[in-house]
Each structure stands twice: as C-alpha cells, then as structure tokens.
C-alpha cells in the first residue's frame, strides 16, 4: 500500500518518465476527440426530432445552424461565427428606459433603429409627436424625442419619412413605446455593435426587467421583428 500511495503522489506532481508524459498527452487528445464525437452524435439526435433544424441531415450546410439552440451546435460552426455579442430582443422589450442609463458607456450603445419596410410614413407619427400634440410641426414641444434625434422629412402629401440621427439618440425608447402603442411598431431598440464594447456581463442585461437581452452570434448581430407583425 505505501507503494501505491507513492505512485499516486508521483503521478500528480510530475510524470514518472517521458513515456508516461507522452501517454498522458495521447490520453487527453483521445478524450477530446471522443467528446467532440459525442457532441456531434447528440446534435444529430436533437435534429432528428420533428422540430429539429434540419430533420436529421448533416449539420454542414444547414441553413439554421447559426440559430440552432443545441449546446453542441457550435462544434459544427465555422470558428469565425462562434463569437457572440449582446443584443436586445424587440419582442420582449418593454421600453422601460434603462438602456439609456445602465450602459457602461457615457452615451448608451443602444439606439433606436427604424425599419422602413414596416413604416407607414404617416403624417401623424406617434414615434415623432407627443400623444395629443396641438399641431403637427417639428417644434420641440411637439416632439417625443428628448434630444430631437428623429428627423422628419416631407416626401409628398400626406407622407413623411422619419430617420434617426444616432449621434443624438440616447436609447431611452420613448419613441419606440409610442410607435408600438399607436403605430406600426417600425421603431425598435437595438445594441449598435460599432459602439458596444461587448462586456462579459452586460450592465443593461443585468438590469433589464423584461429579460430582453441575450447573446447572439456575431455574424447575425441584430434581432428584428418580422415585417408581418405590422399592426
């Protein structure tokens, strides 16, 4: 028994010989290969289900691979797409205003984004005007945006185009709230990745009451509502 103890102690501290050292390396490589193989098998089992992404076919070439929820799907992805970034799901967002105040940046990386294909180009835009505004002019007292970040441009009677000046937008979400409540919901909040520093633990995500923040693949960094949700 003392011999066994001595042997274990030796194995934990340093290899007994060069042969043991190489054997240890080979064993670890073998275990890693086995884990990859097992992961792929589990992934294939998930996909074989009726709601699987590719109905049992091989992962390579699967169009839904990037969005695949399987924990092992990253094994099949190209290395460049395994990076993830923070993003805000517009379907869950309740426009509480915390995106403007909880970001570690001085001016939040969350900005209002306008989906033009959903926009009605309305003369009376509730994202631009305060509810109950006396006149439909761009006077400051009529505007919903506290920083005047929404530009209103006449196209033809009675259509107007609304664009966001992101240098002024603070991500408060007031326009998003009223656009969703009274309009088509074409204004949404999104984390802009040219500004976001991609913290390990996003300060806004930690304080988001709706749990709207999640990590998404870096090659599909934006989450949009489908245009069919136009109301």
């Amino acid at each position: 028994m003392p011999g066994t103890c001595k042997g274990m102690q030796t194995e934990l501290t340093k290899p007994q010989s060069r042969r043991d050292f190489i054997r240890g390396i080979l064993r670890n490589v073998f275990l890693a290969v086995l884990a990859c193989f097992g992961g792929t098998v589990i992934l294939r089992k998930v996909c074989l289900k009726a709601d699987g992404a590719d109905h049992g076919k091989a992962c390579s070439g699967c169009p839904d691979l990037v969005r695949c929820k399987s924990p092992y799907s990253w094994l099949a992805r190209p290395v460049s797409t395994r990076r993830t970034v923070w993003q805000l799901d517009p379907a869950k967002c309740i426009q509480c205003g915390r995106c403007a105040t909880n970001c570690v940046l001085r001016i939040s990386a969350v900005k209002c984004v306008h989906r033009f294909e959903m926009c009605g180009y309305c003369k009376l835009c509730f994202g631009f005007f305060q509810p109950g505004a006396d006149t439909l002019t761009s006077a400051a007292e009529n505007q919903m945006c506290p920083t005047g970040a929404i530009r209103r441009k006449f196209i033809e009677e009675p259509y107007y185009e609304y664009t966001i000046d992101e240098s002024l937008c603070i991500g408060c979400g007031r326009c998003v709230k009223t656009c969703g409540a009274f309009g088509n919901g074409s204004l949404i909040l999104q984390v802009r990745h040219d500004l976001c520093v991609n913290c390990n633990e996003c300060s806004i995500a930690r304080n988001c009451p709706a749990g709207a923040y999640r990590r998404v693949p870096a090659d599909e960094p934006y989450l949009f509502k489908p245009a069919s949700q136009n109301t």
Partner: protein, 317 residues
Amino acid sequence: MILCLVFIAVAVTAVIVMWRGLSGGKCEDKNSECRYDIDALKKTDTNLLIRTGVCFIKPSISNLKALAVDCSDNIYVGGNTGIEILDSAGIRISGFAISEPVHCLSVSPYGDILAGLKDHIEVYGRDGTRKAVWKSPDFKTELTSISASSTFVFAADYVNRIVWRYSPGGELLGRVGDKDNAQRKTGFVVPSAFFDVSVANDGSLWAASPGQHRLEHFSPDGGFISYWGKAGLDAKSFCGCCNPSNFALMPDGSFVTSEKHIVRVKVYDPEGRFKGIISGQEEWSKGAVGLDLAVDSRGRILVLDPQAGTVRLYSKM
C-alpha cells in the same frame, strides 16, 4: 477610544449614503417606468358607454378573419380553413372548406357568398359549390374588404391603396379613389393591412382612409362626394396612426367603427357625429386587432374577435 468609534460610525454612514446615491435609488427607476403611462390614455369614459347586451358566439373554424351578415340575418364567418354559416342566434347551419385562407367576406343581394382570398375573389353558393373565380386585378393585390350592392361589387386592396369596382358577374369595371397629383387628390392612405369598404342602402360607397382618420363617401360610379372624421385621442376622434380599422353601416345610415391600438367600438350618426361607445379597451385583450364588423337588419352589431376566435353580438337593451 470613543472618538475613534464615532469617527468610524460616521465614515461608514457616509459610505452607505454615497453608495445608495451613486447607484440610483428604486424611486428613480419607478419614475422612469411610469413616465409615459399609455394605459391611462386607454381608459374608457363610462359616461359615453351605450347600454347594450352582449352574447358570445363561438364558431367551430379557427383563425377567424372575416365576418358578414346576409339580408336574412344569417352570420357568415371566414377563417384559414373555410367558411361557416350560422343562424341569427349563432347556431351552426353549415360550413365548407376553402383551399386558401379567407381574408374578407360579403354576401351579395342575390345570396352569393363573395370570399376575398389573398388576391382574388371567389363566388360560392350556400351549399359550398364554387360558382366563379374572379381574376386577380393586379399582381400586388391583397384584399381586405368586400361589399356588394345589386349593381356593383367593391373590393378594397390595401397594397395598391385602391378600391376595385366589379360588376356582379365579376367583370372589372374600374378603380375608386385613385391618387391624382394634378388634382391634388391624395388617394387612400393605408399604413397597415386594414382597409374597409361598405355599400350604403342607396348604392353609394363608403371607404375608410385610416391614415387620414376618416371615412370617405363615393358615388356608385366612384366619384368623390364627402368625408368625415378626425384624428385624436379623445373618444370622438380616431386614435393612433391609422384608424378606423373597420366599420359597418347600420340600417338607419349610422356608422359603427372599430379601432386598434386603443381598442374601442363606437357609433356615429349618419352625419358623422359621435353617439357613444359600444365597447372599450377594458373588454378586449391588449393585442386585440382586426375587429371586423357587421350589422344585421335589426340593428344588432356583430364584432369579430380574431384573437379569442369568437363573434360578439351587441344588441340594444
């Protein structure tokens, strides 16, 4: 020693106060959540409510989209799978399947069922036999409403922002509500997929222009006559970007309108003066939208609730 303890206590207190102050209190967050209370705008003034009795009809088909009533007060509902016919009490008479979802529905004075599918109209008999398929007027067409008189059939197309005028036999006769910059006619303004039409007793056409918050009146041949309606958050006006989403004409020429965003069903007299609210936001789910309307010969108001899959029948008390 005592002085030292006092100093430590003061230091700890100062640190706690600074930490709470710098991290932002709960009060501040609460205020930011309540700053724009849209729900307060949605409260219905009970003084404006018209007293009505309501009963619920539950058709057997799913994903209801369209509602119509014929001259015998039978109720027709259209959904993703077909059309169902109910009697005036809501008891099922018959039903038949259609290969495409029904987007809108009307019953002609001749008893034919006009089903508006995505881009064309199909004519069915009450027994479900398909009598005719009318050609799609445009490759972009998406129909949202049909209304028929004895001389014309009008179909609202929300993508082209136009009302198509057909003969009862299905011949395309023309367009109503075209945009004309030279005559400064803006045409219909339809920001979302809600664009309703209804034929009056005299054969003239009423059409909603939701982006302009008004109902427009046209002669049977498509000439513009007048309009009424204005935008606003008060009960007398039409709220949001684009309302009324649906409307129907009552036997006396009054209007019943339904709105989205602030969900409410209201009644206006034949001159467009506000009479009262039939149903307010409180009676509907938050996401209620697409409340198609119909009125029977007794003046009972039928409202389709697509989210709940029911038809509400409001009658005077």
